[in-house]
Symmetry: C2
Subunit: 201 residues, 2 copies
């Protein structure tokens, strides 16, 4: 059915990644009706990158940022979603995700497998302007959704304002303006009672 092995591998990959539509995240979609999946989350981030790229802390190649965001969660097809406030899950996350990247990007022809695997590694390492901006959006989006859904996920997991501020401070490395926005959203959420203040002494 395929006129080349290359095209066959590309289509195999594009069918395999359809599974991202079934990986549920902790965040609810903005109307609060259900949990968001990885595919729609990645679409939302890609459009956020396009609309908000003027706020990147350093000049970024927008196409690279978007490609990175489109594939950044594909490893969860095998490794599952790890909630941002699940410390135990984070300990084994990297090993599980490395194996997943090997298998999933490995479906592509070698040159593209290398390209997308490298983009995923770059996102994870978070050491380039593109990766820092992509990571900032990946942190900001759940804050927007949580604010919109009156802190649904924060409340469910008993996460405090201090924890949210601490867990998301990396946004500042990708964009000072978006970190100011994130802090304003978090403070407003706390003021409205969507998010508890830390009760530890």
């Amino acid at each position: 059915m395929y006129e080349s092995q290359r095209l066959s591998r590309q289509i195999d990959f594009l069918i395999e990644i359809d599974k991202a539509k079934r990986i549920l995240r902790q965040s609810l979609i903005a109307d609060g009706s259900r949990r968001e999946n990885d595919a729609e989350h990645s679409w939302h981030l890609a459009l956020m990158a396009a609309v908000l790229c003027e706020y990147a802390g350093e000049p970024v190649d927008l196409l690279r940022v978007i490609k990175m965001l489109l594939v950044h969660d594909l490893v969860e097809i095998d490794a599952g979603d790890t909630f941002a406030y699940d410390d135990a899950g984070y300990e084994t996350k990297l090993a599980r995700e490395r194996a997943a990247a090997e298998r999933i990007f490995g479906l592509l022809p070698p040159d593209q497998a290398g390209e997308y695997r490298a983009l995923w590694e770059e996102f994870e390492a978070c050491e380039t302007p593109e990766a820092r901006f992509a990571a900032a959006l990946d942190r900001l989006q759940p804050i927007l959704l949580n604010h919109r859904t009156r802190g649904a996920t924060w409340k469910k997991h008993g996460v405090t304002k201090e924890r949210v501020l601490e867990r998301n401070q990396g946004i500042a490395k990708g964009s000072a303006a978006l970190w100011r926005l994130a802090r304003a959203l978090i403070e407003d959420a706390a003021a409205r009672g969507y998010l508890d203040e830390d009760s530890r002494p």
Copy 2:
């Protein structure tokens, strides 16, 4: 909460488009478990554009193709999804979608409203290399999903092989190679009984 009216409008837009996650298409996702929504469809197309851009019939600016695909279905937030084989729906589609584009892209600051509105108009007019390639992917993806789900949507709506070939021949304008792939998938689907042959005399 926002440090500028510009940022406030951008975030309003980015929250509004979350509604695309609730617009259901006719296609099922690849495992056949449920209908696909516009947000995950657009994500899938954006990644298809990145992986398959070597097959574009003319040189394309990949970032423009991807931006176009990320926003091409936003008008359905107001106008709803029109099934590709619904001729009556197609008669009113353009007017409904124009009004939707006016409202939804109009949430953005004027410069970006103009940019994304123009990208959507360009996609609809299908007269540039980028729009032709984007449209080809938008046609190919449901064929891939229908083939994968044993013709679920085709069978449900009683669409014949001849109708599918006719309705999708525009793929050839965006990519000769992807049109050959689409035809091979359609012939294979018919041979497997996923799609009926035309019974008209």
